[in-house]
Symmetry: C3
């Protein structure tokens, strides 16, 4: 079940990346690279920072094909996609939560302390989008007020402390997913935002 | 022979990076760093992603000196360089092909499957240029339609499957280089381009 | 003593990053991430490039809390900060020198040759600032003429060759810090600049 949602999340991330690439008028190859970086970059960053080899896509290269296929398919159906605004946001929220739990799990199995487990989940959840924005020459969207990374942190904390308190692992996963997903959807619907720090003077 | 072209390719990559740095009015130190990142970044990215330590330049630190020397030399002869437009494009094409074969070879020796071998070659060939463009605050050029990464993929595929079919390794290297190089030169001369994906609506 | 200055340097780097985030109107989470990347990114880049695991902050996760606390504190006192222009520059100069020595030391203990030791020090000193500028969508400041990386190289060289010539390690550290710090301060006061390479023609 978790791994099924993982594949769905990869596809969704690939599709959002493809649309971002289209906005920058990239070629088809660029679309595929940006999709791979966005969908697989979070997990790769986590694995490189923790020294956890081989990376997911190196061990399962067919993931690259899945992501590229999803990206190229997006080119074909781009016109339909903007009618799918809501399904997209929901699947993206689900993906964020699943990526986070998978990331926490990798750090847990390596025996890392709580803070690193939660950070590993967050890196898995958000770094793909940061790399996408850097390659598209934008300031990363995840820093601009949306309740996105916070959702990842909350999900990771529930997962870690749930397991810690000895609850059944399936129950903990379901609870973390339910809370994280609801939080993200509420944040979108109610337009919750993180407070911003605006500083105009130039230090230099 | 391959390693001789490798050095030539490092020098050429360093020189193109130096010119890019000059367009951004960087200082001499920035010129050297950008040259190192461009010339050695592809191989470093490959080694970090595959967990292949030590990195090439850590094992052979004199490569850093070679690249910096080439970059500083470019400052001195910048006026001459734009008369060398064609030799540059040809050497750059040769470099792309050689970097690709070296990258494929590293993945092959580590025992990776075909797709990873070809991706490793492509990463070695194109990531340096992507990092250069990100540090210069541009959308990476390699995504903008030129037949560049495709050349790398074709070269890597010929190399891998040539070896797989049991041909003599020197013959396979020559064939991969000849096809890749010709394809790149033809793409420049005939202005072949990858199709682009242009998407204007903002999803958000 | 060195480790005390290391903590001060982390805090100072976190604070400059927070101000940079404020100029980009990032949210509080973005402020924390940018602070972590800036303060801990140099050491992480060094460790990943040299294959030196675990990374500093993975082994000591409380460093993440220290850096985030410093960043959030900066939001509260932003108005006071621009009156602290000079103390900031001095602490930043001290941080650069200490980061460099710590970075050199890691490479030394791994048994790397002189050039890699000095490069490792420089990476530890300057990569954090480069990542900050890339995430803020700027061309990295360190390439724009300030005598910053050069200070790091000089400090690293004094440290390495001082130890090599058999001097007492505490004496060598003090000497490297004194020279590096003075050089940086002199460069700021006297407005020393690296020569720039300006190249206008477009190669392409």
């Amino acid at each position: 079940m978790l791994s099924f949602i993982f594949y769905v999340a990869l596809v969704v991330e690939a599709m959002t990346a493809a649309l971002a690439a289209g906005r920058r008028k990239m070629d088809w190859f660029g679309v595929c690279v940006l999709a791979c970086v966005t969908a697989l970059g979070g997990g790769s960053a986590r694995d490189i920072l923790l020294g956890h080899y081989p990376l997911t896509w190196v061990g399962n290269p067919y993931l690259l094909l899945l992501v590229c296929a999803a990206a190229l398919f997006t080119i074909a159906i781009a016109r339909v996609v903007d009618k799918l605004h809501w399904p997209f946001l929901l699947l993206d929220a689900l993906g964020l939560v699943v990526f986070t739990i998978i990331g926490c799990n990798v750090a847990l199995e390596m025996g890392h302390p709580p803070l690193i487990v939660i950070v590993a989940g967050m890196i898995t959840g958000i770094v793909g989008g940061i790399l996408r924005d850097v390659l598209c020459n934008d300031v990363p969207l995840v820093f601009s007020g949306e309740l996105y990374a916070t959702v990842s942190i909350v999900t990771g904390a529930i997962y870690f402390f749930g397991l810690q308190f000895g609850f059944n692992s399936e129950f903990v996963i379901s609870a973390a997913m339910a809370v994280g997903f609801s939080l993200r959807v509420l944040a979108i619907v109610l337009k919750w935002e993180m407070p911003k720090f605006v500083y105009d003077k130039d230090l230099r």
